[in-house]
């Protein structure tokens, strides 16, 4: 087991827990930057898409994982981000560097508007209320046709930065780097929140509202803030997604997307930033992997004969079931255990990772 000697308070306050972490994450970043030289156009497109999902996942993770507020309507905030970003660019001629943060702010504001009347809601009640809001937002997009283009949707213009044009199809490498930069920035901000009083008040609200209140934490304000930040991050992801798909309409941001987002962070590992990334990898690459396996099998069995309709989503669902049965704490939770295993080597016990029986208590006492 690695033992860390802390010599100053900075050791706890720092961005990374210790030097080893810093080293590994920096290495990861270097690989991420070099990625366009390592993979082809197709994979790069998928990695870009993964970054978008990871950002959206971070947004939701902040809310669900760190503040304990479930949301099943986050697609609505993706939509707010995507639409306002394009509107700012098209109508006001703002550059992407301004329109994207502004879009995030708009989404944050929308989140605040939702949070204020719903601060008394918990758990499943909040989930269903946000789900309703998500469903409503789909219709609201249609009603706001003059701005949103209604059901025919709107086209996202190319991003222009320093004279370079970023387009999903013409310049995917540029887009990837741009999105990587945005992702890293948000990641750092997120980590900063977690290690500061704000993050602690989020965790306090999650674990016990009563005692958070007794510590002087204003529950309503904290929850509203959490909603706002979460929705802001999600809104940025929406703006990114808008440029990535090039065109979008009301159906782009439906309830299934909200559910997928939640599914993603749970599979990734709830309560960990890394979980958002793990989840994004699963959401983006698992379906593709299934498709490739299917193509290979089809190739072996003599080409394109009968395809079973919906096989991919069936298999996807089954794999998710397996993942959750195997590790309810998500992939990152499992990784942590594996890491402990290696760190303890050779002092591990065979069934150290067997789950001790655990029991739940009602959440109907608030």
């Amino acid at each position: 087991m690695r033992i860390i000697f802390k010599k100053s308070y900075d050791a706890d306050i720092g961005l990374f827990k210790h030097g080893f972490h810093a080293f590994w994450y920096m290495l990861l970043l270097v690989i991420a930057i070099a990625l366009p030289y390592l993979v082809g156009e197709f994979l790069l497109g998928e990695f870009t898409s993964m970054l978008i999902w990871a950002v959206a996942g971070m947004g939701l993770m902040l809310l669900v994982g760190h503040t304990g507020q479930a949301s099943l309507g986050h697609a609505a905030f993706l939509a707010v981000g995507a639409y306002t970003n394009v509107l700012f660019m098209e109508n006001w001629g703002l550059p992407f560097l301004l329109s994207m943060p502004l879009a995030g702010l708009c989404a944050a504001f929308a989140g605040m508007l939702i949070a204020i009347p719903t601060t008394k809601l918990h758990g499943i009640y909040l989930a269903i209320a946000t789900m309703a809001i998500g469903i409503l937002s789909e219709s609201i997009i249609v009603i706001l046709e003059p701005w949103t283009g209604g059901v025919s949707g709107i086209f996202a213009p190319d991003i222009e930065l320093f004279g370079i044009s970023f387009n999903r199809y013409a310049n995917i490498t540029g887009m990837y780097w741009l999105y990587l930069a945005i992702t890293v920035l948000i990641l750092i901000g997120y980590r900063n929140i977690l290690r500061s009083p704000l993050g602690r008040s989020f965790a306090a609200v999650r674990d016990s509202e009563i005692s958070a209140q007794a510590m002087g934490v204003n529950i309503a304000r904290t929850r509203t803030l959490a909603f706002a930040i979460s929705c802001g991050i999600t809104g940025v992801a929406g703006a990114m997604m808008g440029h990535f798909s090039g065109v979008f309409n009301n159906e782009t941001f439906n309830i299934v997307i909200s559910i997928t987002l939640l599914l993603m962070i749970v599979v990734g590992g709830i309560g960990f930033i890394q979980g958002a990334f793990m989840g994004a990898i699963v959401i983006v690459f698992l379906p593709q992997a299934i498709s490739f396996v299917r193509d290979i099998i089809n190739g072996m069995t003599g080409g394109s004969s009968m395809t079973i309709p919906g096989l991919e989503s069936g298999v996807f669902g089954a794999i998710l079931v397996a993942v959750i049965l195997f590790e309810p704490n998500g992939l990152w939770g499992r990784w942590l255990k594996i890491r402990t295993y290696f760190e303890l080597f050779p002092f591990y016990r065979r069934d150290m990772f067997r789950r001790q029986k655990s029991y739940l208590k009602t959440e109907r006492m608030r």
């Binding site: 009640y125 269903i128 009603i143 919906g310 079931v321 608030r366």
Partner: protein, 291 residues
């Protein structure tokens, strides 16, 4: 006259919602898990009934097919818990939510493979027969829905309030560890209630299929039923019925008298409004924690 007609059919629709919502509530009451696959279980129930009765498939008499369907779906519910959910026992509820969502994917896939994606109609003796009172038309299917739903709600209510098993189910949802301390076989109790909700889903499916046609996407109705359960106060059986009826009535009345976009949004607006003013539903099952 219009209003009366709207009332009657709104009531019938509301009862279908209420019936699916009851499935949610049963499971919530006994395990505090939320089964997002409830709508898909209803769909599966409808298809099993269709597969057993329709001429093109097994072509059994309806009276034989109905109990058989209920039995099959109860078994499906039981197995779902015993084989899958039991492994997440004691884990956070959100894992269960995701698990049931994923199971829903699989159910839709299976139904699509077996019965195809085209809408089909159940050859039900209840379908298409009307009873007329003056100007109001009441389908036999609707009468059945209303009667069955009310009977089931009352029955289940007393089961939970009065029988030892019912109270034990509630106990095991409130404190799993304490329930074990009392000698309640919590896992088996969970499986039982999943079987029960499978049976209820089958009944809901049969009645729903008698009112119209079904396809593998029918399960999405579960979302609205879930909203109904929450409006009523998740965990309350009368609440499920109440919530179902509220949504059932709001839909036709707003469609008739409001029209346009507002009508379409009404059920969800009502849901949000009710939650804003009664954060835990009308018949709230949530209590302030005493410290």
């Amino acid at each position: 006259m219009d209003a009366l007609q709207l009332l009657v059919s709104g009531l019938a629709n509301g009862c279908v919602y209420g019936l699916i919502a009851m499935g949610f509530v049963l499971i919530y009451k006994a395990t505090e898990a939320v089964n997002f696959a409830q709508g898909d279980m209803m769909m599966l129930g409808a298809f099993v009934a269709l597969g057993l009765t329709n001429e093109h498939y097994a072509h059994l008499p309806f009276v034989v097919a109905v109990p058989l369907t209920i039995l099959i779906m109860a078994a499906v519910g039981y197995l779902m818990d015993a084989v899958l959910l039991r492994r997440t026992f004691g884990q956070s509820q959100i894992a269960v939510v995701i698990l049931t969502i994923a199971i829903g994917f699989v159910f839709r896939f299976v139904a699509g493979v077996i019965w195809g994606h085209e809408p089909q109609s159940l050859e039900s003796p209840l379908a298409g027969r009307d009873i007329r009172f003056g100007g109001v038309v009441l389908g036999l299917d609707e009468v059945f829905v209303i009667v069955v739903t009310i009977a089931l709600t009352v029955g289940m209510y007393f089961f939970f309030a009065r029988t030892k098993m019912g109270v034990a189910m509630q106990a095991s949802s409130q404190n799993q560890m304490a329930a074990y301390y009392m000698g309640i076989p919590v896992k088996r109790v969970h499986s039982l209630v999943w079987a029960l909700s499978g049976a209820v889903a089958a009944i809901a499916g049969i009645l729903f299929a008698s009112k119209g046609s079904i396809d593998p996407a029918t399960g999405f109705l579960g979302i609205k039923a879930f909203a109904a359960a929450v409006i009523g106060g998740l965990g309350s059986l009368p609440g499920a019925l109440l919530g179902g009826i509220i949504i059932g009535l709001v839909e036709p009345f707003s469609a008739r008298y409001l029209g346009g976009d507002l009508a379409r949004l009404m059920p969800y607006l009502i849901l949000v409004l009710i939650l804003v003013f009664r954060p835990h539903g009308i018949l709230s099952q949530v209590q302030a924690k005493k410290v």
